[in-house]
Amino acid sequence: MSEHLSPEALELWAMGSADSAEERRHLDICLECAQDLKEAKEYFAALGGLPSRKAPPGFALRLRARLDAPSGWRKLGAALFFPWYFKVPMQLVGAALVALLIWALPARLGKSVPLQLAQAENPAPSPAPPPADHGEMAEKKIAPERSENRRGKLEESDELISPEPPRPPVPENLAMARGRASGARAFSPKLENPQSLQPMDEPVAAIESPSGAAKSAASESKAEPPASAPLPSIMLSLKQDSLIRALGFRLDIREGVVYYELKTSKVAGDSLATRLQNLGLGDRTIVYSSSESPDSVVIKVH
């Protein structure tokens, strides 16, 4: 036998259950296999010396107790349905009540919806088309209640906005463009009294160029509404409002007049004029500029 013993053969020799004469002779002459056999014997002696553990006393009794104990599902079933002659009818009644509630709730909600719609549609006209006639627009003023009721849909539609609650006064650091051009008057829009504003007669031109601002000074008194006259009602759609606010932010809404402060960097050139014209607000807008904030202008939409 020229080859070394296999691990299985060594195992048998180590456990004393091998009797092959050929393997015996090999072990006598092969020092390597003899060394392996010695290590295997030590190994099996170590593992074979382990005592056989017996199950602890009461093992079978504890097992029986666990087997006889109701399972989690059985416990749940007993809790839910035992005694069945009492709990099952109660559960049926409960299920019927829940079903009735589920059925009745949408029915009640379904009744109230048409009522709300009817209330909302009754006093106010349908949303106005893009303003063409200011007088007609003023007559179609939408009540605040309607605007609040349908505020959720206003972004997508061209609904009209209504005046908002009063806001804190605007910082008095603004001056009219004309005043800055002439160096004569400073503009302080006291929005508690918006009629005190001094509007420009050609506001868009004032933005377009300084010469336009100077030119507009000639017709100042023509564009300014009488101080005592009531301001026209505002009819500014949310779309118009949002497009203007894209250029800056809304300062205030007072008595039907909306004030915006816009960044001049965003309204340079004729873009503001074009935008206001496209929105149908060209002749309803008065533009001011701030002496202290030359990078912004104030527009007043009435």
Binding site: P7, E8, E39, E42, Y43, F44, A46, L47, G48, G49, L50, P51, S52, R53, K54, A55, P56, F59, A60, R62, L63, R64, R66, L67
Partner: protein, 183 residues
Amino acid sequence: MEDWDLEYVQWFKEGREQGFNRLVQRHQDRVYNLCYRMLGDAGDAEEAAQEAFMKVHRGLKDFRAEAKFSTWLYRIAVNVSLNIRQSSRRRSLREAPDYDLESAADPAGGPEADLEARRQEAWVQRGIRSLPAEFRVPLVLRDIEGRDYEEIAEITGANLGTVRSRLHRAREKMRDFLAEEKT
């Protein structure tokens, strides 16, 4: 022996709970010893053995004697032990090796021999616990429980060559551990 197992299984299938009780009586020590060697902790071993017998109780009606009952029982016990070991791995890593002073070391050689036997057992058990599961299972089944290779393959679900290979690797690792500890 296996005939008695099949007889008791048949009792159980006929509705006689006594059949299961007999099976427990016949196998509880070997199953417990297997679980103990796999887990190295007396509490975990009892938990695993009881869980194994409970699984057997649940599945005994469907047992079809395609394998030996003891093979089926051992396979369940090994799987339960592996699951329990995974769940208690964190704890066992923190704890000291289990010396289990209530072990059944033979007191015939006197207190000193008894103490030495316990140390020896703890030392070997520590080596077994250091083995990965794939090596520990064939080593325990073969070198401690004395199961033959075919049965180990059936219990572990591996083929015979894999069992031999893993057992060879397990013994090498175990020898290395014992030699290292001895030095």
